[in-house]
Amino acid sequence: MTSRKKWVWGIFPMRAGRIVPTPVLVSAAAIAFICALASAVAQGQGRGAASPASKPPPATLTPQSYPPEQIQAGQARFGSECGFCHGRDAGGGESGPDLIRSALVAQDVRGDKIAPVIRQGRPDKGMPGSNLSDSDIAAIVAFIHDAKTKAESEGGGRRTVDVADLQTGNAEAGKAYFNGAGGCAKCHSLTSGDFAKIGARYEGLALLHRLLYPGSGGRGSGPAPARPTATVTTRDGQVVTGKLVQLDEFTILLTDANGWSRSWPVKQVRISVDNPLQAHVDQLAKYTDKDMHDVFAYLQTLR
């Protein structure tokens, strides 16, 4: 079992001739994503969410109709500006989420929610802002709503992963792996916290992402449960502990116990990072697909 606690002085250790996992850090993007989710939770959208692809899309709250020529123009602009990430049909792509299943799209009325996202982007998640004209954005909004309406009438997108697709595991074998070879029980207890009901909180692809690496799998798969804790010891002996925001070989940034963001040059301080998710990373190279499906089956029973 790899120790999840590491002390580093200055730059990361490198060992010649070996590929070694280096001390763990969490990207600014991931943290910003967590913050975005925290606000979603506050609005009552975050908990109990299944995978975007495991459930019917959220219904459009305010039905809207658009002229065909605007939809057509929007389809072209969407394909050009948005399609590579979100799929040409807005059903999700290589790096962008499925907009048909987006809660924000479901709540949007004529671009009041979509347009600001297009203009400002989500730089923390790799989506650039755009200086498209108002009419282009209006056309894109028209296209997204139209694509959503069509997808709803067809009963779901073609890239779906359904809960039923994932029922190939053996819960008993998964329980044995959880408590034995997988080492999951070293951190996860059924008697404390809310882990005992994980199968009620998540299902389908969201639960699978939860199992493999919490925080992966996009918005519907829930927040990362814990950020790494970092402790910084300065040269004059001051000790500051907080939630790690960013760490690279030059700079550390954390949020201290009083909520202040603080940053130091790495080479001037001593740093300790405790990352509770490191075991999830280490396990990725160890799972067989059977292990993964078995543990998934077991987690589904935890309700």
Binding site: M14, E94, P128, T160, H209, L212, L284, M292
Partner: protein, 522 residues
């Protein structure tokens, strides 16, 4: 005597002026023969030269003084898109691009000389890799799959050629490659079942010379592709003038994740192909990923190295491929000499007698999902590697990544035809011993996949970037950090050149191009 002198001068002056004018006119034109031996005051093509080594012999910046690097100038494009190109420098003019845009800037003043903007179009605006210079023209490709030839004087359009029909789903990001009188250019298109196309045009006239298909148009008799389309050649190739062979990596097959619809190995997708640039005929092909079902194209740079291999001098081709395997091929015949992983991989059941990793059918996308390394973005990608001949190290932007892959019949057989999502990835700059494939060092650059390409220099420096907006200079022999500057997301293809006796290193940082140099001597 004075009279004679005067007379001489009188006669000499017009001659001198005439010679100077001819020289000046010639100096503004790039003879394709120059690409065989690029001068140090230039970076004439996407890779800098035909080998794809992205290595410079310049020696002013050293491990001892690199910490003094300082900003010489910065040029802001003002675009939302990050720079994903390699700048090209010819005759003191730097050309940089984003989709639909080319800027010509003076390398000494960083002033814009002209800018060309392609008409608004509705194709994919995913990236642009850079220009090709030919005589007094600048060629580049557009999202709507046009090849546009601009007048290098003022950026006015001289040729506008449609490479492929954007309405069918083709687009282009490709930096064209000039070989003599051939302008060689590829397209992309993964969301539709389209044949893989590489074309050569006469850059003087814009006339099509040949078309090479990595997969034939559907319905072509005698096709060996097994029904696969795809195999797009969206990256710039390399060239061996002695063998007169062009080397290009080909893309993944379509439908992408559904392998049932296209049985067999699906040549020449996910392959390295050697093509005669005069005829477009295939000399040989090597499949890095036979029957790919994970979107792992083999479009990455085929790096050409002449050197020792187990005591024998050989003409080799190195590729760190998106599927996580490093290959050394004999580039005279395409036979594999080394096949070895350089990042986390779990998808191959064996290496066959021809050095090809053979996919494990259990790791192909399935209804219940399969945990696969690398993920869809791959163990590396378009980011250029750098090769250092002195140490024999190929420095690669590598990723250890895991993703889940799904396919069921309901996903169909068109375009993506499946579902996948990324679980976790962490990137490193990794130095591969070219003869053995062993990893000499691995320099962590953070979570996610890297964005920066790699440049090496003769003084033992490696220039690249990390995932936290830092441009980096490392010592090539051991990967130690020697310098950094936080300039924004570092893009592909750092380049270096010497101008007026000063060595410069250029990085894209976000949407700005930065030039670094040692402090000026006063």
């Amino acid at each position: 005597m004075p009279t004679r002198d005067y007379r001489l001068r009188r006669h000499a002056l017009p001659v001198i002026i005439a010679v100077t004018l001819v020289a000046a006119a010639a100096a503004q034109s790039v003879d394709p023969a120059l690409l065989l031996k690029p001068p140090v005051d230039s970076w004439l093509t996407y890779h800098g030269d035909y080998t794809g080594q992205r290595h410079s012999k310049l020696s002013a910046i050293t491990p001892e003084n690199v910490h003094q690097l300082t900003l010489a100038w910065a040029f802001q494009t003002g675009q939302n898109q990050s720079l994903k190109m390699s700048p090209v420098l010819a005759n003191g003019v730097i050309y940089l691009t984003t989709p639909d845009n080319v800027w010509a800037i003076d390398a000494r003043t960083a002033r814009q000389l002209w800018r060309y903007t392609h008409p608004q179009n509705d194709a994919f605006h995913i990236g642009q890799r850079g220009v090709a210079v030919y005589k007094d023209m600048v060629y580049f490709t557009t999202p709507d799959a046009h090849l546009v030839g601009l007048d290098a004087r003022d950026g006015k359009v001289r040729h506008d050629i449609v490479i492929a029909d954007a309405k069918r789903g083709f687009w282009s990001t490709n930096a064209p490659l000039v070989i003599r009188n051939h302008m060689i250019v590829g397209v992309a298109g993964d969301f539709d079942n389209l044949p893989g196309i590489l074309k050569s045009y006469d850059p003087d006239t814009g006339k099509l010379q040949w078309t090479f298909y990595s997969t034939p148009p559907p319905g072509t008799p005698g096709s060996i592709s097994g029904g696969a389309t795809g195999g797009q050649m969206w990256m710039t190739g390399t060239y061996d003038p002695e063998l007169n062979l062009l080397y290009v990596g080909t893309g993944n097959p379509t439908p992408v994740l559904n392998g049932e619809a296209r049985p067999g190995d699906n040549p020449w997708t996910c392959s390295i192909v050697a093509i005669n640039p005069d005829t477009g005929k295939l000399a040989w092909g090597f499949q890095a990923s036979p029957h790919d079902t994970h979107d792992w194209d083999a479009a990455e740079v085929p790096v050409l190295v002449d050197g020792d291999f187990n005591g024998t001098p050989r003409k080799m081709l190195l590729q760190a491929s998106r599927n996580g395997y490093y290959f050394v091929l004999d580039r005279t015949n395409g036979k594999a000499l080394v096949t070895k992983p350089f990042a986390a991989v779990n998808w191959a059941k064996e290496i066959d007698k021809d050095g090809r990793p053979i996919p494990n059918p259990d790791k192909e996308p399935k209804r219940d999902g399969r945990l696969v390394a690398p993920n869809e973005a791959g163990a590396t990608n378009y980011r250029s590697p750098g090769f250092d001949p002195a140490t024999g190290l190929l420095v690669v932007s590598a990723v250890d990544a895991w993703g889940i892959y799904f396919f069921k019949k309901e996903h169909g057989a068109y375009g993506w035809a499946g579902a996948n999502s990324s679980v976790y990835s962490r990137a490193a700059l990794r130095a591969i011993d070219y003869k053995t494939g062993e990893i000499k060092w691995s320099h962590d650059i953070g979570e996610g996949a890297g964005a920066a390409g790699v440049l090496t220099t003769a003084t033992g420096l490696t220039f690249s970037g990390d995932n936290n907006n830092n441009a980096l200079a490392l010592r090539t022999s051991d990967g130690t950090t020697l310098w950094h500057s936080t300039i924004g997301r570092v893009g592909n293809g750092p380049i270096t050149y010497e101008l007026d006796g000063r060595q410069y290193v250029l990085f894209g940082g976000g949407s700005t191009l930065y030039a670094f140099a040692l402090p000026e001597k006063r």
